[in-house]
Subunit: 312 residues, 2 copies
């Protein structure tokens, strides 16, 4: 079996507590015995049993990140930053997938209740808020990213979606758009906030708009039309779907993160870049604060986007 403190203690003819101290660099142990212990430990290929350490310290130095899916931009982009930030602070980031499956999600929350991690980041789907009750009772450190897991007392780090969408629509309007097709996701509050921001601009000016695909489409003949939404690919699909009927139509596009890949049939394309690095670092710092009990305020922090770029 694997080497334990006891084995080293026997070889070096000292007590396990001395071995433990030496290996942790406790200055109290005699320099020469310390040296002897560390070299023997290396020789024997000793590595500590983290489960045992956890049991006494009550900490794991692990943080989990719960995600629905690996293919989302909001997963791929901030995660790299978050992992590096936490590593620099002595924590390991462990990513777990719930596959947009509510049972798997519950299962992961249950695991979190069992002290597998010191805290968790969650990119949530809107499930029953009761799922979180055991964790909340324990005051388990939880930071939501991008969207709220439930309304009420929670900590969420997200883009300033409402303002961002407002500005995006404004750019498109200034570029000549006379009417707007809105295409935001409704399943989470990030998408709904974006829609609200877009509507705020549009309604204040009484501009014509329709919500895709729920409302009947606007007629796009001879009217400069903007398509506003989260995803460039969705916008691209709307362009394809509409321009079948209106061959010469040219669109103005405004979306988040990445532009459409095909830019024919577009006149202007604006892209709002979220600040993923800032989102990750803010979420990371909030987590550290919670763990160290510096602060456990329940708040939503909105990160301004990096900017809106005119791609075409």
């Amino acid at each position: 079996m694997s080497v334990k403190l006891k084995d080293i203690a026997e070889v070096c003819e000292v007590n396990v507590s001395t071995v433990s101290r030496a290996l942790r660099g406790d200055p109290r142990v005699n320099e020469t015995t310390a040296k002897q212990i560390t070299t023997k430990a290396a020789e024997l290929g000793y590595s500590p049993n983290l489960a045992a350490r956890q049991l006494v310290s009550g900490r794991t130095l692990n943080l989990w990140l719960l995600i629905p899916d690996l293919k989302l931009t909001i997963v791929q982009e901030p995660t790299q930053f978050l992992s590096e930030f936490l590593h620099a602070n002595g924590y390991e980031l462990l990513i777990t997938l719930y596959h947009n499956n509510s049972e798997k999600f519950q299962h992961l929350l249950e695991k979190l209740s069992q002290n597998v991690a010191d805290g968790a980041f969650i990119i949530p789907t809107e499930y029953d808020p009761k799922f979180y009750l055991p964790l909340l009772q324990k005051n388990f450190p939880l930071v939501f990213i991008d969207r709220e897991g439930f309304s009420g007392e929670n900590t969420t780090v997200t883009t300033a979606n409402k303002q961002a969408a407002y500005e995006l629509v404004k750019k498109c309007h200034q570029a000549g758009a006379k009417q707007f097709i809105l295409n935001f996701e409704f399943e989470n509050n990030a998408g709904r906030n974006r829609q609200n921001g877009a509507l705020e601009y549009i309604c204040a000016r009484q501009l014509p708009f329709s919500v895709w695909p729920q409302q009947p489409p606007l007629s796009c003949t001879n009217v400069p039309t903007a398509i506003i939404g989260s995803s460039g690919i969705s916008s691209e699909n709307i362009v394809l779907s509409i321009s079948g009927n209106v061959p010469n139509a040219k669109f103005i596009i405004g979306n988040f993160d990445f532009p459409p890949t095909i830019l024919d049939k577009t006149e202007k394309v604006f892209v709002c870049h979220q600040n993923f690095s800032a989102i990750a670092k803010t979420a990371g710092q909030l987590m550290l604060d919670k763990i160290q009990n510096i602060s456990n305020a329940h708040k939503t922090i909105e990160i301004p986007p990096e900017g809106i770029i005119c791609v075409k």
Copy 2:
């Protein structure tokens, strides 16, 4: 603090061992006391401390997956399957990023030595094989995916890359290609095997070829040219780069996984789809076998691709 077995024992006026048994569903405990214990445990919001369990069982029921980066196809596609497969078998898949950073990679291997997981899947970068020594000495269950972590005794699950590339070139040849530009990655044996497979077909027939970008480019004027490589996007870039000089050139493309997004300037496009689900399940099963000591054979398992599709 959180509820422990002891707390429940006190409330129910029984010994902790009885509580432990009741909660684990041991049939020996009296039905009514068992019921009392389980209801009390639920009332108090008891959840077991996994660190303590690990310490006695020596198992974590966790498996780690070490990856360089979230954006790779070979990461995104099999991971979903692997996670589900392992979950169905009682294990948790925890994904960790090493950011193509050799120190972070070493750090993760070190953690693995410390009993944080019962085994690990690795999508490796070719680092110093010595990194693995401590793990190999412990006979720690390791399964490589897509590429070998080091040559010699290891277990790797990968696509039958050589044959796949051979067939891909064959398709392009049959579609009329008279010369070939090869564009495979050299940093890992998956890419090198593909190149070997491609070359086997090409050299046997003495067809002209060049290796991009190392060798001087072929002249593509009036000669049907195939671009063969792993990535559709790279092929696309080669098309763009060449067709600047040869405006009317039309290419035949053969690549893995996903076609280029822009198909102008291509005459035919073949895509070889790897069987990610089979890769994941095979890797998962091999891991379970190793953990249960059913088999610890060191072997490379090659999964045939799902097929080669003509996209255009």
